[in-house]
Symmetry: C3
């Protein structure tokens, strides 16, 4: 089954590529690799939430952040597909790096970035299994709670 068919089966729609917020491109192809830029969880051009992830008043709950990581990964798929010349040119996922804007007491970054990893697993199956780093950071661009970058392989 092609990646396009798999996404249709999952009821997933490829979002518009998020325009870079600065002087770079959403994704760059080199040989059989595509590097995506760090993707924020933009939906129709706006962040669904801002702030730091953690437990407590005024913080973004980890469960919500997991959803934002999923959206960031979906945006990464869109960016990579556009750069590669189509969704079905993507042949696998090599590496995910997930940054979680975290208060210093929050140590659940892996659970948050699972939102990205699970989405990539659903879409790509076995070839979507990837190496991954998840780290806490104090703050991200536009006060986004998460940022996800992906290295894909392409044909």
């Amino acid at each position: 089954m092609s990646v396009t068919e798999r996404m249709r089966e999952l009821g997933l729609e490829l979002p518009e590529v998020v325009p870079p917020v600065a002087d770079y491109v959403p994704a760059k192809v080199h040989g059989d690799l595509v590097y995506t830029s760090g993707q924020l969880p933009m939906v129709s051009g706006a962040l669904p939430a801002t702030g730091k992830v953690g437990d407590g008043d005024g913080l973004v709950p980890a469960d919500d952040a997991k959803g934002y990581a999923r959206q960031s990964a979906l945006n990464a798929v869109a960016a990579a597909a556009a750069a590669a010349g189509g969704l079905d040119r993507l042949t696998g996922v090599l590496k995910v790096t997930g940054f979680v804007a975290s208060v210093p007491a929050f140590t659940g970054q892996p659970g948050v970035i699972n939102g990205a990893s699970e989405l990539l697993g659903e879409i790509f199956g076995d070839v979507g299994r990837h190496a991954r780093s998840a780290v806490g950071v104090p703050v991200l661009p536009l006060d986004s709670p998460v940022e996800v970058e992906v290295v894909f392989s392409v044909r």
Copy 2:
């Protein structure tokens, strides 16, 4: 001398691969590269210490953190070797990224991540020389003091 022989000579034993704490794989091979996941300094399945690195009560001393970076790099070698089909398939080290959970006053990240770089130099010699970034972060998964990811070359 093979990498296996070199490790034996150094009295280093390859640890068990640390199972991912979430939905990803310890390392991924693509072409002649292996990307490892961010490795924590797990020893027999447990973190030897938690917390932030810095000078002062309740903080992890930089010297201890250097040892944890060494352990993280050893775990990265184990992860890469398992993914590549054996230690002697690893032909060199390209890039190390070291994250140090740091209080904002602590600026000695390079010394901490030297624990990883020195270990890789001992094992791989000249081909172990690598590009590297070391950065401070406020917090890491499971409150680990360090996290290290490595890109190796493979045959």
Copy 3:
């Protein structure tokens, strides 16, 4: 026009390669890729400023930080050129990762790292367009306000 000619036209001089502050190399070539180490904005061996970026007393202003990101990228070009055997061996820019030492209220990391992206665009033109991540961190080596690493392609 060669990269060397382009830099001359821009009035840019390639700085000396910044010696690593620890046990690694400034850049590593593998196949047609060069990975640079994280570059600080060193000028003649010294940081032009230290501290965290943000608005307020005692903080590094974002505009200044943008200039430091530009200098870091210039140092990355120098590191990559030396490793690749000359400036004109560099054929493009694939990926930039920019770390900005940030107070938690500062969310302008993309504007800061534009200093790096613009410099690479000036030097490399179309082939200098790159994927990019910009993130905040609490502290960087030597208390540098920024750190930039780059993946270049080489012939």
